[in-house]
């Protein structure tokens, strides 16, 4: 049978998909064991046991200075920054995207400005944000917002303005005002797209969060991995990176589930 015609069942897909992950883990353990056989004090590729004991300290033992469980404090700090940033970005992208997409005068007025902001690399704005907002939480949240809002906004506005002209005309013949058209035609069709954009923005959002934390913070996942880098503490860095990946996958999963539950019509149409 030709490969293009192969049908992969659920169990098979799980097996096939798990295989590369298992190989990566196995390859790491073999390499780490080999290095440790030569030099038992090796720090570059720590063995799983070393990672577990290093992480146990961060997970369960209060930090002598602050009295906090560092791992959980880091996670909480990073997630709240990310959450606030994503929330503000999503909400403003939704409001502005609807206006820009559905109302031609608003689009004509704002779209050059949005384009101009969108082409600036957000990291280049980080010094400005630090100067304006100080080194506190605001600047980090602002970086996430500045980083992902333009993409979401432009994509959403494009999606709305690409809705079939027939739909708009139809709504008008049903007596819709501009407001009603936004509320009942544009908004419901924007929401599933917005979730899709949010999923795509998770990656960049994490990048901006970790960059901001690496430069100026006293708690956070990004702060921690850049701090322990000084001691070559791979036994902390690798589990932290794994944890960040796990969080990202979980957020993506929740978003895609939400979209399927709340906007079933959008997913039926694509089938």
């Amino acid at each position: 049978m030709r490969w293009v015609n192969r049908r992969i069942g659920r169990g098979q897909a799980l097996l096939l998909g798990g295989l590369p992950l298992a190989l990566v883990v196995l390859g790491y353990v073999v390499a780490a064991a080999a290095r440790h056989a030569e030099n038992p004090a090796d720090k570059i590729l720590p063995l799983p046991g070393a990672m577990a004991s290093a992480m146990a300290a961060l997970l369960f033992e209060p930090d002598p200075l602050s009295g906090e469980l560092l791992f959980w404090a880091d996670t909480l700090a990073s997630l709240s920054r990310l959450g606030i940033g994503l929330g503000i970005a999503t909400l403003s992208a939704l409001l502005a995207g609807l206006m820009l997409g559905a109302l031609p005068p608003v689009r004509a007025f704002f779209s050059p400005l949005v384009t101009a902001i969108a082409v600036i690399p957000p990291i280049a704005l980080l010094p400005i944000l630090f100067i304006i907002f100080g080194l506190g939480e605001t600047a980090k949240v602002a970086l996430i917002v500045v980083g992902i809002t333009p993409f979401m906004l432009r994509d959403l506005a494009g999606h709305i303005s690409a809705l079939p002209r027939e739909q708009m005309v139809k709504a008008l013949t049903l007596g819709a005002s501009s407001w009603q058209l936004l509320l009942r035609v544009a908004l419901p069709q924007a929401l599933p797209r917005l979730i899709e954009e949010l999923r795509l923005s998770l990656g960049p959002a994490w990048v901006f969060l970790i960059s901001a934390e690496a430069i100026a913070a006293d708690v956070g996942l990004g702060y921690r991995i850049f701090l322990v880098r000084r001691y070559l503490a791979m036994d902390v860095i690798i589990p932290y990176v794994g944890w960040i990946a796990l969080l990202a996958v979980a957020m993506d999963f929740v978003l895609s589930r939400t979209s399927r539950l709340a906007f079933g019509w959008a997913h039926k149409a694509r089938r």
Binding site: P164, Q167, V169, K170, T173, L174, G175, Q180, R184, Q189
Partner: protein, 254 residues
């Protein structure tokens, strides 16, 4: 009822329609046919208010037509006439909700129940009584067009405009739709303007067939002259029995 006097439609240099003068009587079923590019859809868009004529005037019941689409004119397009995010009931109720609630565009309580009952009745009239909760993506093309008709009719428009409404349907389904639209036209006393490229359909359904084409053609400047009304045929002999006969022939020929 609807009067077009000396209407021209021009896009820049390109003349699409010229010197269109028409009087459409209440209760008429007007079919518009013509070759591709003869301005059939332009004529419909002008009546709909989606496009503006460059010259001439259009009056509805003696008053100039507003320059925007409004609830006095219902429309069914070939595609994209229904909203993908609403089920059949939601699509049909939308017009009532927009009219009844200017700010929230949603009805609640007894007003909602009344609108729902009205929508259910309308869906039953187009043969979708069993599909109230289906989304358009779960419907066949014929069901979507039935839904689009119900959605338009619930607003009781003065004129129903159909833009090749059955063009994308299978021949068998199309014949069913012909029966449906004829029945609705009678029951609701509708005035219909239908654009089609199917001559048989035009004659089978219409009480009046209008043919658009270019009267003059300049081979060096094809955009110079627009299309006008070439034939305007009144099908006065049409009776209920003829209707049946027409339907049966169109089914066999299709």
């Amino acid at each position: 009822m609807l009067r077009l006097s000396n209407v021209w439609v021009e896009y820049g240099e390109k003349v699409v329609l010229e010197r269109i003068s028409l009087d459409i009587a209440e209760g008429a079923f007007v079919s518009v046919i013509g070759p591709s590019g003869a301005g059939k859809s332009s004529l419909l868009r002008v009546i709909l208010g989606q496009d503006q004529p460059s010259r001439g005037r259009i009056t509805l019941d003696g008053r100039p037509l507003p320059a925007e689409c409004g609830p006095d004119r219902g429309v069914v397009f070939q595609r994209y006439s229904v909203f993908p995010h609403l089920n059949a009931l939601g699509n049909t109720m939308l017009g009532l909700e927009l009219a009844g609630a200017p700010f929230t565009a949603r009805l609640f309580g007894s007003a909602r129940r009344a609108a729902r009952a009205q929508a259910e009745e309308m869906l039953a009239a187009v043969g979708l009584a069993d599909s109230l909760h289906l989304y358009p993506s779960e419907m066949s093309g014929g069901m979507q067009q039935r839904l689009a008709i119900a959605q338009a009719l619930i607003m009781r428009p003065r004129i129903l405009l159909l833009d090749e409404p059955f063009g994308a349907l299978d021949p068998g389904i199309r014949a069913d739709m012909h029966v449906l639209i004829t029945r609705l036209w009678r029951e609701f006393g509708l005035t219909i303007v239908m654009v089609t490229h199917d001559i048989k359909e035009a004659f089978a359904l219409g009480t009046r067939v209008i043919t658009l084409d270019k009267r003059r053609h300049d081979p060096h400047a094809p955009q110079r002259y627009g299309a006008g009304v070439i034939y305007d045929i009144a099908l006065t002999r049409k009776t209920a029995s003829d209707e049946q006969a027409n339907e049966s022939t169109s089914i066999t020929i299709d």
